[in-house]
């Protein structure tokens, strides 16, 4: 019992504390701003992918904090991508408008879906979101409006500019930063209390004055909006989207895997997970080829069965062992 008493003076953090974290954060931001200036085009491309997935990862994690698990996050990514592509193709709107609209359309999708699923059990929502993404994929591959399976082409970003890849990177970096900051503020605010209470016991939270519908929808909308932005960006960056890529199951799988391996419900976890997973995907795609997703299936299975807290869980275990051994005073 002695050990447990020592813990009582330290507030376990479900809500990440600022402070020392701030220095690290600023350092990392500067790193990511300056680093790309020194790397080659291929690495830059990878970094762009990483940042895109950081957005998706952080958003999925936010939604999961309200116990709404989306198995079809690709739906919002794809909605953003297609909105952006359609606007660009049919109305020749400037990219920033396309991308923003992508986010907006994705959030509308989320509001509607969220309203429908408000009272559903978690597993029901998972099935619904999965079917939603699949339905969008199949339908968009068959109707004329979205040009069917062949997809839509767009003009590249910053066309004619020799530094276009670099500028594309900064664009997605800005989007990722905005997303991270927004989510960070949510996690630091009273919203996090509501989210966590709803996640743990919606009914009990309700009798304490928390409006579950409001916060669940809010989480859904925020999550979808930024994911839609990422999708909108991706469409422009890759200059061509089609149902198979925009609504790909891979995106949905990776969306949940990134926070899972990086550390569910934390702030930094999804970001770490995004980098790890994107790099891993790229490596596997090149060296292993088709079927690399099998590793993700394995990771998913192993994680659920043995490591519910992800990498951060391991980190916590190690950290607490180190503290107990008296090597480091309480934080």
């Amino acid at each position: 019992m002695q050990r447990k008493d020592k813990n009582k003076d330290r507030e376990p953090a479900i809500l990440d504390k600022a402070g020392k974290g701030l220095f690290v954060a600023v350092f990392i931001v500067i790193l990511f701003t300056l680093l790309p200036l020194t790397v080659d085009r291929y690495t830059l491309h990878i970094l762009i992918l990483c940042q895109t997935f950081v957005v998706i990862s952080v958003c999925w994690n936010l939604l999961a904090m309200t116990r709404q698990v989306s198995l079809g996050h690709a739906a919002f990514f794809g909605l953003g991508a297609y909105t952006s592509a359609l606007l660009s193709d049919r109305l020749s709107t400037p990219p920033w408008l396309d991308i923003a609209s992508g986010g907006i359309v994705a959030s509308f999708g989320a509001i509607i879906l969220g309203l429908i699923c408000l009272r559903m059990a978690t597993w029901a929502l998972a099935i619904v979101t999965f079917s939603f993404a699949e339905a969008l994929r199949v339908i968009s591959s068959m109707i004329e409006f979205t040009e069917g399976a062949q997809g839509i082409s767009l003009l590249p970003l910053f066309e004619g500019n020799p530094n276009n890849k670099l500028f594309s990177y900064y664009l997605i970096l800005v989007i990722a930063l905005i997303t991270a900051v927004a989510v960070y503020f949510v996690i630091q605010s009273r919203l996090a209390y509501a989210f966590r209470a709803i996640h743990d016991d919606e009914q009990a939270a309700s009798t304490l004055g928390v409006n579950p519908a409001l916060f669940k929808l809010l989480a859904f909308t925020i999550s979808a909006f930024f994911t839609g932005l990422a999708g909108g960006f991706y469409a422009h960056y890759t200059t061509h989207i089609e149902p198979a890529t925009a609504f790909n199951v891979h995106i949905s799988v990776e969306a949940q895997l990134m926070p899972l391996i990086g550390g569910l419900y934390t702030f930094i976890g999804p970001i770490i997970g995004a980098f790890v997973l994107t790099l891993m995907t790229e490596y596997l795609r090149v060296s292993f080829g088709q079927g690399y997703m099998i590793f993700y299936g394995i990771i998913l299975v192993v994680t659920i069965m043995f490591l519910p807290e992800g990498i951060i869980g391991i980190y916590k275990i190690v950290w607490s062992k180190v503290r107990r051994a008296g090597l480091v005073r309480g934080v």
């Binding site: 330290r10 479900i14 743990d200 009914q203 309700s206 009798t207 928390v210």
Partner: protein
């Protein structure tokens, strides 16, 4: 303050509450007793909006609240504890209590910093201040019950519904909890207490309502109700003499 008019609740074919009516005045302390399954918790669930009435009306200060969502009823000033404690497992005691402090009165809520201060005050009041950074899952049952109570009052309710808060506690713990409830009552809160621990009902409630199979079978001053033959037979099973306690609020 609180009025139930002909409230009935069916679960499928089962009638859980049958035409129950009563009213509770401000700053009353009412006991609610009855055998297991008589519908006491169901009544609380109906009042707090967790269930909808099959028929009948529930009014709070003259306004109908049946059909209103639980969070709104909380904002109107109704707090409750749950029979089986429902703490938020991954948070500390302080954070658990802070939730009610943040959202107990408004949809928007107050700032976490303010709320944590209020939570500290509440924890001070119930005597849990030294445990405030402990994870709720690491607490003893008595402490968990106290946290449940702390959460309920963190929303500053005018009407507090206590559902078997004493269950599972030993005599010392019961006395401690009773003292805390007394303090809450004396600060102006109206309380309705569901209990099987008769000592608590007698010690805390000036008036008692008895339920059996969803029907109200008695409603009156506690010592009278306790001695009523019908109540004794259906619930207590044998003669149980109650001496009117001078400490019971009346």
């Amino acid at each position: 303050m609180l009025e139930l008019e002909n409230v009935t609740k069916y679960f499928g074919g089962l009638c859980a509450i049958n035409d129950v009516s009563f009213s509770v005045k401000e700053n009353e302390s009412v006991g609610l007793i009855g055998p297991n399954g008589s519908g006491k918790t169901t009544l609380f669930n109906l009042i707090t909006g967790v269930y909808r009435c099959s028929s009948g009306k529930i009014l709070l200060w003259g306004n109908r609240i049946d059909g209103t969502k639980p969070f709104r009823i909380c904002h109107m000033g109704v707090g409750r504890t749950f029979q089986i404690t429902r703490p938020f497992p991954h948070m500390t005691v302080r954070e658990n209590v802070a939730i009610g402090a943040i959202y107990g009165k408004t949809v928007k809520g107050i700032s976490p910093r303010l709320a944590l201060q209020r939570a500290d005050d509440v924890l001070e009041f119930v005597g849990l201040a030294n445990r405030k950074h402990t994870l709720v899952t690491n607490l003893t049952l008595a402490d968990k019950k106290m946290v449940e109570l702390a959460k309920a009052i963190s929303t500053q309710p005018k009407l507090l519904l206590l559902d078997e808060v004493m269950a599972g506690l030993n005599t010392t713990e019961v006395a401690e909890l009773m003292e805390t409830v007394r303090k809450i009552y004396h600060s102006g809160t109206t309380v309705i207490i569901i209990e099987h621990v008769m000592k608590a009902i007698v010690g805390l409630a000036s008036r008692t309502i008895v339920l059996n199979f969803g029907n109200k079978i008695a409603d009156g001053p506690t010592h009278e109700v306790m001695n009523e033959k019908g109540v004794i037979e259906t619930y207590l099973g044998k003669e149980f003499k109650v001496v009117r306690s001078s400490r019971a609020a009346s």
